[in-house]
């Protein structure tokens, strides 16, 4: 029974992703773009969930690792001939190297993971507010350095000429990889120790869990996955440094919290729900015709609605849409408990 329940817990979010991808395959080109964005959001939010959900510690710093993934994959995959146009002052070895799609994604993941590990080594000793502010400080530093240090990237320029290899297939496969990794981690010994520490730190310590070490592992894995998501993103649309700062931090946290931050199911549901809402609002901003009713929202109302909904969810249902539980079929649960 247990194995069956576990299978359901993995298959439900995976099925949701596959369903979204299939939906993206049959709709128009413009809608497909929304679906790809949503799938990349799933990767990002699930990666964030690996740390925030399992440890219960808030991190405002994860978009730093996402940004590092964007930079790694972006700089490495722009063709050598195109580099001087947007990135004239790169380090020599960066200026003369170009790698393929998959290799660049691997580099993005490794860069995110290594950076998270290095940052986590000192920072995971902190908890509560100090941890929140310290991760925020990491985000501030990362953004500041990427913005002005032109030897490692385009600085304030937009990343252009990155091969656009993230289509529906790559986004869906990427999301599935991240989901499977998150699932494997949360059912592993390490993941269970960290979840125990989340529920009752004192009791977990008493049975020999090193909270520092468990948080550090989760932080590094989470950084690795979110770096990978960053790699997927830069292969989808050209962006600049402003796209990987406070707004993205906010929307990613919003997706996790709205879905329910303590379960994988919640992370996936939150990402897809908010993405769907956001796409709908974007269409309305452009002028949408529903059953003869012409809806035309002013530019910028998307973020108003999303933040209002996030505040509402927090006030009315602080544990999120899924109440932070994994997906389960009602009948299976009853039998397992008997």
């Amino acid at each position: 029974m247990r194995a069956r329940r576990a299978t359901v817990e993995l298959l439900a979010p995976a099925a949701l992703v596959v369903g979204a991808a299939l939906f993206g395959a049959v709709v128009s080109q413009t809608t497909e773009v929304y679906v790809v964005t949503a799938l990349i959001s799933v990767s990002t939010v699930v990666a964030l969930y690996v740390f925030v959900g399992n440890s219960g510690v808030l991190s405002f710093g994860h978009i730093s690792f996402f940004a590092v993934g964007v930079w790694a994959a972006g700089v490495l995959s722009v063709p050598v001939a195109e580099k001087p146009a947007t990135m004239p002052s790169l380090f020599h070895f960066l200026a003369t190297t170009t790698v393929g799609n998959v290799v660049s994604l691997v580099f993005a993941a490794v860069a995110g993971g290594v950076y998270a590990l290095l940052v986590g080594l000192p920072l995971m000793r902190l908890s509560g507010l100090a941890a929140g502010i310290a991760t925020f400080a990491v985000l501030g530093i990362t953004n500041n350095v990427l913005r002005y240090y032109e030897k490692i990237g385009p600085g304030l320029n937009t990343f252009s000429s990155v091969p656009e290899t993230t289509g529906l297939l790559q986004a869906a496969v990427g999301a599935l990889i991240v989901i499977v990794a998150a699932f494997a981690y949360q059912r592993s010994r390490l993941g269970r120790q960290l979840r125990a520490a989340r529920e009752d730190p004192a009791a977990a310590r008493a049975v020999g869990v090193s909270i520092y070490r468990q948080r550090l592992w989760a932080f590094a894995l989470s950084g690795l996955l979110i770096g990978f998501a960053g790699g997927l993103y830069i292969h989808f649309i050209p962006i600049n440094v402003d796209a990987v700062y406070l707004d993205l931090t906010f929307i990613t946290l919003a997706m996790l919290v709205i879905g329910g931050s303590t379960s994988l199911w919640g992370a996936v549901v939150g990402a897809l729900f908010v993405s769907a809402l956001d796409s709908l609002l974007a269409e309305m901003e452009a002028g949408l015709n529903v059953f003869g009713l012409n809806i035309d929202l002013p530019e910028g109302s998307r973020i108003v609605v999303v933040s209002a909904i996030m505040a509402l969810v927090l006030i009315l249902r602080p544990s999120g849409l899924t109440r932070g539980r994994e997906f389960s079929l009602p009948r299976v649960v009853r039998r397992a408990e008997a």
Partner: protein, 311 residues
């Protein structure tokens, strides 16, 4: 440290300029300290880190800009600013803070994060990304000569205003019964309630005081940065939040000192660094913040264990 920096740029920084940098840095520290008091007061009473505090300042600044755009007198502009900020503070307390009072600190922080984005995006919708200009008080940017140094009037106004506000607040907290109630709530909310302290009253008063301070900060900041955009005071709020945590959130005094310190440090570094390096000023400040947090996670100016966290 200051002599080292000044020595390094001797040709650039004469003694008088150095005094000017000092006064400006203290002025900036005073503004940050006011914001720190606003954030620290609400945290003390409600255990809530108000990330949306900067957007209160932003709303006040827009009120000033609208007033100056219509050519209304300065007094009317300031009155409008105070009314807008206080009304917004009350609404925030009633709609967001109060229902979340029993939630964990993390949930409350994310909720105020959401409120901050909500207000920012409403401002974007209303006034556009370029914002408006508040010009009625720019005369305060003119320098005066004090003790042989050229000092902008606004720095002196900021220092004096901050000193008066902190003195008034100390009197309120120590000499009135509502102040006693607030201190009691900050120390132990449930016991205070058992003894008859009205929790709603206390939280409304603290939010109103914090709001009044935000309005003052809006007035002071618009003098130095007359262009009001939706992200007005955002960078300042992030720095003040860091400063408040660095100083120590368990006591109002340490939080205020932390806020002052980060404002002063950013003023001194910004004034003394050559422009090629000053673009990395945020990194330097945030690096210092992380360093202090690692050494003293409970705060620079606290004694013993803070009461914020258990593990």
């Amino acid at each position: 440290m200051n002599t080292v920096l000044a020595g390094g740029f001797a040709s650039f920084a004469s003694d008088a300029l150095n005094k000017q940098v000092q006064v400006d840095a203290i002025g900036l520290g005073a503004v940050y300290a006011l914001m720190a008091v606003g954030i620290g007061l609400v945290f003390g009473v409600m255990r809530l880190v108000n990330f949306a505090y900067g957007q209160l300042v932003m709303a006040g600044a827009f009120a000033l800009a609208v007033a100056s755009g219509h050519g209304w007198p300065v007094g009317v502009g300031i009155a409008l600013c105070v009314v807008v900020v206080l009304a917004l503070s009350l609404a925030m307390e009633r709609v967001v803070f109060r229902p979340l009072r029993t939630q964990s600190a993390a949930v409350m922080l994310i909720a105020t994060f959401a409120v901050s984005f909500l207000l920012q995006s409403i401002a974007l919708l209303w006034f556009g990304p370029l914002g408006k200009t508040a010009t009625s008080l720019v005369a305060l940017n003119r320098p005066v000569t004090v003790l042989g140094a050229e000092v902008r009037k606004i720095s002196i106004v900021a220092i004096v205003a901050a000193a008066i506000c902190v003195a008034l607040l100390v009197l309120l907290l120590n000499r009135t019964s509502i102040g006693l109630h607030m201190r009691a709530t900050a120390m132990d909310p449930s016991t205070a309630r058992l003894l008859g302290v009205r929790a709603n009253m206390v939280s409304i008063v603290s939010v109103l005081i914090a709001g009044a301070l935000a309005a003052l900060v809006a007035v002071l900041l618009t003098v130095q940065y007359p262009t009001v955009t939706p992200t007005f005071a955002l960078q300042e709020t992030i720095l003040v939040l860091a400063g408040v945590v660095v100083g120590g959130m368990s006591r109002l005094v340490s939080a205020t000192l932390g806020g002052f310190l980060i404002g002063y440090a950013s003023g001194i570094l910004g004034g003394a660094l050559p422009s090629a390096q000053s673009q990395y000023l945020p990194s330097l400040l945030f690096g210092l913040v992380i360093l202090v947090l690692l050494v003293r996670p409970d705060g620079l100016f606290t004694r013993g264990r803070g009461l914020v966290e258990r593990v």
